[in-house]
């Protein structure tokens, strides 16, 4: 009997040993593995409620499926280098024509219900995401220029991605998180998309939610709190350098607090451990509490710019007003407008001194993509006046506004979405600066949906002059927008006539396609640099400035990123390597 037990034990050990582990590098955290303690609860807060546990219909930026799975797939990025590294894959090979990537899947990975994670899980997940009737938010990411990216199962532990053309974002596509085929597959076969949509709603028993990532759902109280607990199956193949299973934490608790002031109060009271304050007032309250010894916490002010843009865009399609149309289509005019944008004042007044000026479509945080040699057209009223004079605006009328030889006044309407106080302040600054050089800007804050309607309307005559708006979503692999740069793109906001109007638009369009298909990173960056040079000449939109990222945490937490990688891209820490010190 005893011998038999030994044998079982040995077999179990053998089984464990054959699990191919992913070792989380020590350089991703400031803590040494021997410092890390097991157990405890990390407490955080989010602003909006969760809406579903279903990975195929979730539409929010932060959602439960991403949380429990860790948001990772076959590959993940190394935050110290930005490179793709194998994660749920053990290795990969790229075909000579670069259209196929074959991934060897790590063995020994298990779902939380004990079933092995295999190629079928990727195949089923991809099938469901690409079923139109499901309405998955990831649908578009599986297409390249309208042509599908397909997956093929080679064997249980090998899966091949086949791309219709070479793609710089190939690995980003392959990083999608898999979901259990043994749960979703049978329902999908039986009831199709409708069956999938009914699964894993908020009323689902948390014990029935299966995860392949670091967390399981312990409980969820709508509008109140999501409590996650450690998934032991994850620790079998995710270890630190000392061989300890990850994550260290027992629980991860997320409170839903809709008011940012209340969130701050929770942080100041020591009830939540992490926060990223956005306003100067909140930052100074945290600093004060730390200095006065009321709160044992750390705050990194100006850790990096955030990954988003704020800009002013002029409408090139105004057939009903040829004067304005020719004005808005003139790069000289747009350059003059860039010169009247006082970016430093925007940073000082709107972001309380904690912001970063922007001059190109590449977010300032993506430092390796920024071409430093591109002209910036900084705040310079004389230069603006000179350029406007070159356009024929030399005289001023009785009210002090510039007019051309035919007496037409230099005047346009500027709109942004009402309720976005930061954008409204930016607009008012622009109105004031424009007045100084004699340009009349009529500012109006309008409803967000009306604004988007105007911005995205198409054809030769669109109903606006200029709009201030922002975008997020540029990536590290290729930071240019897939539907922003191409002339037919639906976010090609300045010109929605459906064709390129300026030869430089055509050039950008072509360079975009070339860059997206270039697999060599260095060469891709070169193309990106060239695009920024053309952008600077054309100036299709005028970038303004953006806020910075200021993460803060309670000092009971350990395992944050080293300072060099704390940024809006990589965040303040890897949750898997986070632990409770006291």
């Amino acid at each position: 009997m005893r011998k038999a037990l030994w044998l079982v034990g040995l077999l179990a050990l053998g089984g464990l040993a054959s699990a191919q582990t992913f070792v989380w590098p020590q350089k991703w955290t400031v803590a040494k593995p021997q410092e890390a303690k097991r157990g405890g609860t990390l407490r955080a807060a989010v602003i909006s409620d969760y809406r579903t546990f279903n990975p195929f219909i979730t539409a929010e930026a932060t959602n439960v499926p991403d949380l429990i799975s860790g948001g990772r797939g076959l590959v993940m990025r190394d935050p110290t280098t930005g490179n793709w590294i194998p994660y749920m894959a053990e290795s990969w090979t790229v075909s000579p024509n670069k259209l196929e990537i074959t991934f060897k899947i790590r063995r020994g990975m298990k779902w939380s219900d004990g079933r092995p994670i295999t190629a079928d899980d990727w195949i089923t997940t991809w099938r469901i995401h690409t079923d139109k009737a499901v309405g998955s938010n990831s649908y578009d990411s599986f297409f390249l220029d309208g042509k599908p990216i397909t997956l093929r199962k080679i064997d249980d532990y090998t899966v091949r991605f086949i791309y219709p053309k070479t793609d710089a974002e190939a690995f980003a596509v392959a990083s999608f998180e898999p979901w259990p085929a043994h749960i979703f597959g049978p329902v999908y076969q039986r009831e199709g998309a409708e069956g999938i949509k009914k699964m894993w709603g908020l009323n689902e028993d948390p014990d029935k939610i299966v995860s392949g990532g670091p967390w399981l759902i312990e409980s969820y109280r709508p509008g109140e709190r999501l409590v996650l607990k450690r998934n032991p199956a994850f620790g079998e193949w995710n270890k630190d350098e000392a061989g300890n299973p990850l994550p260290y934490l027992d629980r991860y608790e997320i409170k839903i607090v809709k008011d940012v002031n209340a969130q701050l109060a929770e942080f100041l009271a020591g009830n939540i451990d992490v926060i990223a304050p956005a306003t100067v007032d909140h930052i100074s309250q945290i600093r004060q509490a730390i200095q006065q010894g009321r709160l044992d916490a750390t705050i990194k002010v100006n850790a990096s710019p955030v990954a988003s843009s704020q800009f002013m865009v002029f409408n090139w399609n105004k057939a009903s007003d040829p004067f304005k149309q020719s004005l808005f289509r003139s790069d000289k005019f747009r350059r003059a407008m860039s010169h009247i944008v006082n970016r430093q004042a925007v940073i000082d007044i709107v972001y309380g001194g904690l912001g970063t000026p922007m001059y190109s479509s590449v977010y300032p945080v993506l430092t390796q993509w920024i071409n430093p040699k591109v002209p910036k057209y900084e705040y310079n009223l004389q230069q603006a006046a000179k350029l406007l004079a070159e356009l024929g605006f030399t005289k001023k009328d009785r009210e002090g506004y510039l007019v051309d030889s035919k007496g037409r006044r230099l005047e346009f309407n500027l709109a942004t979405n009402a309720g976005n106080t930061q954008r409204e302040q930016i607009a008012k600054l622009i109105v004031d600066e424009a007045k100084k050089v004699g340009v009349k800007v009529n500012f109006q804050a309008i409803d967000f949906n009306t604004l988007v309607g105007q911005l995205l309307s198409s054809g030769p005559d669109r109903p606006f002059d200029a709009i201030i708006i922002g975008l997020t979503g540029g990536g590290l692999d290729w930071p240019f927008g897939a539907n922003v740069v191409p002339c037919k793109g639906n976010l090609h906001m300045w010109n929605k006539s459906g064709q390129c109007l300026d030869p430089r638009e055509t050039q950008l369009d072509a360079l975009y396609s070339r860059g997206r298909a270039e697999l060599d990173f260095e060469k891709r960056v070169e193309i990106g640099y060239r695009m920024q040079e053309i952008e600077a000449q054309l100036l299709p939109v005028i970038y303004i400035a953006g806020p910075n990222y200021h993460p803060a945490w309670n000092n009971r937490l350990g395992g944050e990123h080293p300072d060099a990688i704390i940024s809006s891209i990589w965040g303040q820490r890897e949750l898997e390597l986070t632990f409770i010190k006291k």
């Binding site: 109140e224 839903i256 008011d259 897939a482 976010l491």
Partner: protein
């Protein structure tokens, strides 16, 4: 009486259709729809948005959407939430229950405090006590509830900084580890969290209601029959509570009908500021997202409750006020 009730119920039918159609129309008149937000996402193609719009039925004419929705309504189906991809009732109901934890105690407290305060003021008009209460009432009326909630949070934090203990929670409805608590502790935990929101939610309304009560009471006390009662040598207690109070309270009976929809409509911005998972933050979200059927469904339930409430208060009024007779 039966005929009257029947007639009242019949009147409710056209009111219901008119009101729901109007509500539906107004919601639809707002520019854009649930998917407009998505249109600014550089990763989503216009084809996908068009496909989703067709899937949600948002590409059909308004009257068609309304008829479809009405049809669902007759099958007791309030519709489907776009954001939650779940039936409206399923997502709304837990929030309504959470709100009731604040609304019911605060309503009870409101009447318990406001009526005596009003009566007190009316019996001793322009004395120091009345003036102090009046002053407090005006302060209560003029400070918005969200601001009062922020002040409450600030005070709680200052107490915490000074003494190291948190008297009451600054937000939320339950503590960490709530699920592991025994049932009695869970109830106590919720009650502990509810104290501040209930007080804040009540504070505003007390002012208005006590002012109203004071005015009513003053008016009734100046009536001839009160003078007569006093002249007859009736005890002051009997004059005030049997004659004056019963008459002064009649207008309040008429407002009781409003309590019914009030029960499900939440405690307002207190919920938002103090992160109470009630219906107000949820509904605001739905409005911001243009989650059509959540808004329409919630309005419909409120409407039905308002109609039923009004009917009930009319009947109650007939019962307490002998001057009203339905023939």
């Amino acid at each position: 009486m039966t005929a009257y009730i029947l007639r009242r119920v019949l009147y409710l039918i056209p009111t219901f259709f008119g009101a729901t159609f109007l509500a539906f129309l107004i919601i639809q008149m707002a520019p854009g729809d649930y998917l407009t937000q998505l249109e600014l996402d550089p990763k989503v193609t216009p084809e996908t948005i068009a496909r989703l719009r067709a899937q949600f039925g948002l590409d059909r004419p308004v009257y068609e959407q309304y008829l479809l929705w009405m049809n669902n309504l007759f099958h007791l189906n309030l519709g489907y939430s776009f954001a939650y991809q779940a039936p409206v009732l399923e997502v709304i109901w837990p929030r309504v229950l959470n709100s009731m934890v604040i609304v019911i105690p605060s309503t009870v407290l409101l009447y318990l405090v406001a009526i005596p305060v009003g009566v007190y003021g009316a019996l001793r008009p322009y004395t120091l006590g009345d003036r102090v209460l009046s002053f407090l009432a005006y302060v209560g009326l003029s400070v918005p509830s969200f601001f009062l909630a922020l002040i409450a949070i600030y005070v709680l934090l200052q107490i915490k900084f000074a003494t190291g203990t948190l008297l009451f929670p600054v937000s939320g409805m339950t503590s960490s580890g709530f699920e592991q608590m025994p049932p009695l502790r869970q109830i106590l935990d919720i009650a502990w969290h509810a104290v501040v929101p209930v007080l804040v939610a009540t504070a505003n309304d007390i002012a208005g209601l006590s002012r109203l009560m004071r005015g009513q009471m003053l008016e009734v006390l100046s009536q001839d029959y009160i003078r007569t009662a006093r002249a007859k040598g009736l005890a002051e207690r009997a004059v005030i509570y049997k004659h004056a109070f019963r008459n002064a309270v009649i207008p309040f009976v008429a407002t009781l009908g409003g309590l019914l929809p009030g029960l499900i409509s939440g405690a307002g911005f207190v919920e938002v500021v103090m992160a109470w998972p009630g219906i107000t933050p949820f509904f605001l979200d739905a409005v911001a997202n243009q989650d059509l059927y959540v808004i329409a469904g919630f309005l419909t339930v409120s409407l039905v409750l308002l109609m039923v409430g009004n009917l009930l208060s009319d009947l109650l009024l007939a019962w307490v006020d002998p001057r009203i007779r339905y023939e």
